[in-house]
Structures are given as C-alpha cells and as structure tokens.
Point group: C2
Chain length 413, copies 2
Amino acid sequence: MIRVTYLLETPGDPRAMAEKIAADQSTGTFTDLPAETDALRARHAARVEEVTLLEPLPQPSLPEGAGPVRRARATIAFSPDSIGGDIAALLTVTTGGLFAARGLTGMRVLDFDLTPDFAAHPGPQFGLEGSRRLTGVAEGPIIASIIKPSLGLTPDQTAEVVRTLCEAGVDFIKDDEKMMSPAYSPFEARVDAVMAVIRDHAQRTGKRVMYAFGLSSADPDVMMRRHDHVVARGGNAAVVNINSIGPGAMAFLRRRSALCLHAHRNGWDLLTRHPGLGFEFRAWQKIWRLLGVDQFQINGIGAKYWEGDDSFVRSFADVTTPIFSEADRALPVVCSGQWGGQAFQTWARTGGTLDLMYLGGGGIHGHPNGPAAGVRAIRHAWAAAGAGLTPAQAAADCPDLAASFQRWGMPAT
Amino acid sequence: MIRVTYLLETPGDPRAMAEKIAADQSTGTFTDLPAETDALRARHAARVEEVTLLEPLPQPSLPEGAGPVRRARATIAFSPDSIGGDIAALLTVTTGGLFAARGLTGMRVLDFDLTPDFAAHPGPQFGLEGSRRLTGVAEGPIIASIIKPSLGLTPDQTAEVVRTLCEAGVDFIKDDEKMMSPAYSPFEARVDAVMAVIRDHAQRTGKRVMYAFGLSSADPDVMMRRHDHVVARGGNAAVVNINSIGPGAMAFLRRRSALCLHAHRNGWDLLTRHPGLGFEFRAWQKIWRLLGVDQFQINGIGAKYWEGDDSFVRSFADVTTPIFSEADRALPVVCSGQWGGQAFQTWARTGGTLDLMYLGGGGIHGHPNGPAAGVRAIRHAWAAAGAGLTPAQAAADCPDLAASFQRWGMPAT
C-alpha cells in the first residue's frame, strides 16, 4: 500500500475527517450511488490506518471560522492498483482533492511512503559521486558560487565574472535562477562565452570548473535545445527551476539529459511556509529526487529567507536519506546568505559530514579582500569546522576568515 | 513592461516591502556588490509603480509574530528583457522568491498584465467553438457527466456506464480526474472499450458524444502515447490534471495535441484557499489558457468544496475574458455537486450566457428516476433559467426536475 501521512485540522472530529478524505480521494462523491457497492469499496477505497490526536490550535490555519480547532496526524493507505508508479497519479489521488475539502481548516502532507513501483524512476544520474567526479573534488565540500549581479550582465560580462570566480578557486558556478534566456544574454551566447573561459581555465590549470546554466523553459523542446547546446560546448550541468517547469518537464529532461541537474526550488515556500498547510519538504523532495534531481538547494544556517535553521537541518537529512537505495540520494546544496561563518554550525548540526555543496554568492563576491579571499575564507572555515576548531581558533591563522567575521559578524557555535 | 499586482502583508512598512521585493526579484542580494551599478539597476531593476494601502489585519496570514499587520496592493513592473514570453521565466522572476521573503506575513499574486511576447503561446485549440463543433451542440449548455464510481470499474464496466450515459442523452463524458491508468483499467483497454460504445451510439443515433480520457502522467512520453491511442480510436478529448503534470508537460502536450484538452485543476486549492497567500485564480488561469487549456473546470454555485459562489462567479468571468484575443478564451466547465437546480443562479450571476459546459456526476447518476431523468431535469432547468422562469415554474411542467428538487432541495433564486 502507498501510505500518506497528513496533518489535519478541523473544528469537527479529526477521525471522521480522515475517513471523509479517504472516501473522497477514492470511490466516493457527494451523494450515494447504486454502483458504489460494498465489494467495490472494499477493493478500491483508501483506508485510514492510524489517527493520532495532537494538541488543539487556538486559531484555524485557514481563516474560516473561529478557533479552537482540533488537530490530528492521520495515515491513509491507498491501493497501488489505483496509482501504479506514476507521480502525477500519486499527486492527484492522494493530494488532489485534499486542499479543497470543506470543514478542514488546515491540511498538510507530512510524508509519502511509496511502493517499489516508484523505484522504476530514474532518480539522480550524478548525485554526490557524479558531482565529485565531474568537479574533481575528491573530498570536502564542493565550493560553489553564483553570478552576481543576478540579472543584467551580457554574455561577455558574465564570462568576466566566471573568469574571476575560476581564478578565485571555486569548484562550481551557477547562473542565478532568474537568469534563463533574457534578451541581453541569450542562452546560447552565454554558454559560448562562459564555456570559452571554463575551457581556457581548465587548459591552463587542469581544473575544470562545473558551470550550471539556467536552461529552464516552460517549453520542454526549448529546454532540450538548450541542453544540447551546453553538451555541444562541453558543459556538464544545468540549473532547473523545478516548480516553474513542473514534474512532467523534469521527467522529460532527465530521460534525455547528459547534464548534472541542479534544482532550484523557487516557489516552494508557498507550498510549505504556513505550518498548517501544504507539504513538508520530506514528502515533496522525494518526488523530485525520483524524477532526477542531482543537486538540491535547501538553504542553510542563517539563511536570508524566512526558513529557520531547524528546518534546514531536517532538509539536509531528508535529501540524503535513501528512498529505495543509496543511489537516489541527492547532493545537498547549502546556500542563501552563506559566507563560511556558518560552516561550524552546519558541520555540527548535519552529522559532521563534508559531503555537500556550499554555495556563496554575496559571501564571495562581496568579501572585503576580493573573491579569492572569499573562497579562501570559506575553505578555511570548512577545514577548521571539520577539525573541530572554534570560529575564533579558525580565524586566528586565516586573515581572510578574520576579515569575513569583521564584515558579517562572529558566528555562533 | 510586465506588470504584476500583489497583495502584501507585513508588520513593517508595505511600501518598503514592495521595494525590497522589486530588488530581490531582479538585481539585488543580501549585501552590496561593486558590480551592481546604478546603470545596471536603472536598466534591469524591477520598479514599484503603485502601492495602495488597505485595511490592516488583526492576525497575520502566516503564523509568524502577532498582529495587527499592515496590508497593501502593490503593482511592480518587470522588464520584458528579463522574461521574454516564457512562462517558466515569468513564474521564477515575478513570484519565485516572493513567498520566501522575510518580514512578509502574507503575499498573494492578484494579476499578471502580460506583454504581447506571451501572445506567441498557442492558447486553446478548440475552446467554446471547437467544443460546440465536436459535440454538435450548437446552442445552450453542453451537458456533461462523469464516470461514477470514480475508481474501481474495469474497462467493460466503464463502457457500460458510458452506454447508460449516452442513452441518457449527455453531450460529453469524462473520466474522473483520479482515473488515469490503474492496474484494473489500463488506459488503452479503457479507450478501446469506451470508444466502441461511443462509435456504436453515434452510428445508431447520429450523435457523437465527446469523451475525455484521463491521460495525465508525469512522463510526457507516456502521455503522448496515450494521446495517440485516443486519436487512433477516433476519440477527441482528454482530461488533463494540470497541476500534477506542470506547465512544461502541458506545453509539450498542446503542441502535439489533436485532442480537446479539459483541465482539471486538482491541487489548485492549496495555491488559493488562504486569502492572504498564493494566487488569485485571475492570475493563475491566464498561464494555463496560454499553454492551451480548452475547457476549464471552475466549480459552480453550491459546490461541494470550500469555494464560495462569489469566487466561482469571478472565475467564470476570468476564463471567458480575452487575454490577447477572443481565441484565447476557455470554455467554462461548471461542476462540483451540480444537479440542475443551480442553473437559475448560475444563469443570473454569469451574465445570462448559455456558453458553458454543465457537468453533473452524482446529479445524473443519482437521480431518483435514473440517469436519463437526471439529464432531462438538467436540460429543462437550463431552458427554464434561460427563459427567465423561476425554479417553481420550471418544475411545474417537468416531473423529473420536480423529483430533483425533492431529492436535493428547492434552489434559492
């Protein structure tokens, strides 16, 4: 059975609400029907397996009526006969009507427990190992940066930033997620200009920096043409705005892709920020890993957005926990307002691993001693964190890190 | 310029928040950068055009801090240079980071005002006129039904329900949105069984009922194989679970489609139900019409879901209001708990038009005198509503409608 765990909130009886959802999402409608026989229901109806009552809430999550409201965690089992291994079927059958149900004032999908049918999905093509192989970073975090300013640079100007970042010593660079194919930087021209720098740097130094190009388009045919152009120029990665293209386009791309797919989840916050509505990241990220995400952006400690540190720590565990096998783990991309100071807490709170990509934008471009110093500071911070040093100890023998602390503050430990 | 109108909510200054969003969604990041010059900002930064302060709210929409919070409607103009006519670019640039912004306690996209670049999208292939032509319904509502029970019927059992509905006199039948290709009713086998009945009915009566098959899959290649199978069997329509496949897969399908595409918007409620968060339907439906939706499900008066009548009335106006031309209007599909009694209010509140599809599931299958009586009752209700009669007048000369009133209640006028 496919088991889905929900957080349900209602002024009524949460158990009755779970039963209603199970019926609505399988065989029922608003009125009794002669053909909805007991035999049909027994075979195809979803079944409520467990309901755990939680503390009531003083205010409903949706502003529909007054509080308090009752809450429960409910697990409903769906017949795999109805869903098979298709993600569109999973979404429609187990969540499609959920958010429309009358009488619910909050509803959140906490987790999907999937059947092996879903293991037929391709999953990540590169993940951690492939990312290490392609970047040549055998150990330690893959140090990454992003083109800044996000928008407005021509291909040649972008290439100049790429040269600066290559010389600064990063392992990976990406387009800003808002950079796709604007009039002033058409995709193909940008690839040509950037890859010339990447190739040149590789020839001179032996280091091939991975560049992820923003190939997203709501037209999969356009996306594939962009993909092919990157491959033709010797590139090996792409930024994919997964919510803006949707699951089907992601599946289409992955099946044909020779590139390492770096997922930017912009738009996701709408689906998760209200704690009584939407999806937990644990549930949602499984879908995208099965569809083929190699590298998953998940914010970081002290992110510039709303998301708190605890949520980031859970996300890190989520994307690195196998669904069906080790091969379906994604590389966690720690990002948003990162400049190295967060390495200490990140290391301490994610199980002391160095298997991650660490992405600094402003933290590298905006370092007071320049981008190379920004990269040195970040590498030093991670080496020190991994060796169990404190930020103060780490800064003592690295003037660039000391300068970071002066610029952005002394990190908490 | 591409103009996007937002509803913003913050404990701080809504004008400052609008400026922050304009910066974050174009050239800015969390720290000042040397390359973010005034010249670059002047050309590429998004601009706040208008901010209208609204009444404060006592409680924030997101449970982050206490109320009251201030609210404003803000219009921000984005350079078409950055977005072109790509819907993935539109979503990422104008909404991607919005829901993540710190300090906002509510944010909703109210409308998109698009540039002619977006008119290059194919839009609906059939819409109202194509739907009328294919069903042979020259005037009046296209009367539609759905296979019930939603799940659990084999292809042969489905075909039997189709026969009953054809004989009952419907113009259109659809798979339940949860019916795609389950183990007990594989897509191709269901198409074969159903189309045999549709063809037979057409030969005997001259009436070709339109059947929309649920071809959704998160794999566009699978979806196209299903599409081709429907075409090969002489079918002319499909149900598309637009949120479960995403914009890219919809664009892919539309470009290759010979079928009339009937959009089911399951999952949409998560994006709109909280009035302080997400998207207004007015904004969101534009995207899907440009991508190619022909027939758009929008609930109805007295729907079985949370959505109120006023919202439905606005949706009806939205899908029938041209974006760039008359050709991009979708056929409104009035549905959810419909049985005919709502015809009077629907007619009165949507401008007295009969250009719609009216979809009854339980209201036809569950009619006390059988499905044919259910269809007769619905047709009579619409004829009466269009002639300006009251429900009581309408029931006086139609025993089947009188029976509906007895079963489901006397409609309000």
